[in-house]
Subunit: 348 residues, 2 copies
Amino acid sequence: MSHGSTGSEPSEGDLRKTGLALKHDREWDYELDRIVSAVNERDASTVGLQFPEGLKRRGPAVADDLRSLLGDDVHVMISGQPCYGACDLDTYLMRRTDVFVHFGHSPMKESEKIIYVPLFSNVDVTPIMEETIDELPEEDVGLVTTAQHMNRFEEMRSWLEERDYTVHTRRGDERLTHEGQVLGCNYASADIDADQILYVGGGKFHPLGLAMEHPDKRVVIADPVNNVVTVADTEKFMKQRYGAVHRAMDADRWGVVFCTKIGQGRWEVATDIVENNDDAYLITMDEVTPDRLRNFDFDAFVNTGCPRITTDDGPQFHKPMLTPGEYEIAVGNEPLESLSFDTFHGTW
Amino acid sequence: MSHGSTGSEPSEGDLRKTGLALKHDREWDYELDRIVSAVNERDASTVGLQFPEGLKRRGPAVADDLRSLLGDDVHVMISGQPCYGACDLDTYLMRRTDVFVHFGHSPMKESEKIIYVPLFSNVDVTPIMEETIDELPEEDVGLVTTAQHMNRFEEMRSWLEERDYTVHTRRGDERLTHEGQVLGCNYASADIDADQILYVGGGKFHPLGLAMEHPDKRVVIADPVNNVVTVADTEKFMKQRYGAVHRAMDADRWGVVFCTKIGQGRWEVATDIVENNDDAYLITMDEVTPDRLRNFDFDAFVNTGCPRITTDDGPQFHKPMLTPGEYEIAVGNEPLESLSFDTFHGTW
């Protein structure tokens, strides 16, 4: 097997290292016809559009195209709220528009009101998969990917089967739309009977979570966006987490964050902690940021919202920031060995 | 008249240059008895507390004191959302708690649900007023202050009257609770028949807005917090605004921000702009920040939310950010001479 073109210059149409920041609108299918049909069917007078951060700059152009297809009496509005997933719907705009379009993520929960437009990547996945063969020595292999590459999932599976792999896939739980899909907070689709898992997709965000959640499995990353093959290494990540837990062991006063985002609330987890610890205080907020928590005089924080803010952004907070499971270790309710990745299940 | 102790070292209990970041909790009266009465009267099981940014670090101590006064079955929660005024209620927490306490601002709108605890400053105001005499040569003087010093308003008035001033005061409009009160976005209480206005209060935020709104009046600042007397000078401020308007004149595409905060929405202002300009797009958000707008590819922005974000923080945005009035100048609907301060009226 040859190790291909990882070092060459990107050419026109080459999506390497561009992530979501693509040059041409034609790279994405915004499914405007589907939106227009819904507007007409529902006789809608207001349409709300929500884009994830990397695609917000496309908002005006998409709004333009929509306005040219709709009557002058239909008002198009764009959400300016941060958006990091299907868990993160702009409920303010959603409640105030007749049709609400959420771009870039697959549905976490179907709704009459919401149109989910997934925005599938058109990047070719098999060239980089070719380079994973040496890293996948066993016959059994799990296969997972993200919403962006879901349109090529059957192609991935066939490609592996043609090379005599036994491919294990599963849909995970109701938080996930598709078989083989992973989210930053949910890797239930990798609960399969194989010791090696092939992740096909851009970046290390998802495979690092996957490897944390499944420390017994080898996670091979085929990244068709950056055109690299690597094996997920969670060592730095784990050290950072153990460090946070150790520093929090001395905490006298705890701030317990309840996230108000529609798909990130774990009310019982948050209130259980507060009810069982007189030195714990419940704080409610939507965006959980270092700036917002810096205003509070706590020794440590527990974040019951998005676990990736806790684990990935943890070092940016002025005080130790733990997941609910890590909190139980820090206060002595659980042994250090119980440390595990915090995952999210269910919808809302 | 002697010019006093502006340069000396602060001593114990001296509030100079400390603003809201005071050392001792006893400096503020959190009116816990009033909160406890309301909880008991309403048989409340949940209490939400909201503090402005500078007082958030007091949150846990106030929650502690409250918890010791209330039964174990009453749950106290603290808002972690940013809060910059009575216009900025945490509606999520308010809707989900039986009693909602908003600290640090006077009521913008009375409500059964909300308890407003104003947190009056205990700083002495007359020593610094003494030093304003030379700056107030005329007999007629307007008097204004902020919510924090409202407890001393009659003392200020008497002090001036004893020195033979004719003191002009007024309540302004329904956005304001008290006679003589100003907000960062509303100076209707200074619509009085005097060419000189004495502002008694901390910082330059309010008097600069006051001088912008009333360019024909001389605004003298008696700052008992920083212990200085100055005269408001809007020149830099005005230059910055003219600069922003000029840069925005070349804009092809406009982002029109509608702020979703309960007391900051001007829906008709926002939609009027969008309906009359094919190159304008409506964006909805709560916190209007440079980070959030950087994701959007517009040439200029109009902020129909808090005018102080536009005028004071304007230079921090990556593209020109205008008030609705400034927008009308930039697109040629109004002459440059019409440039004026953007004020907010009404409640919600």
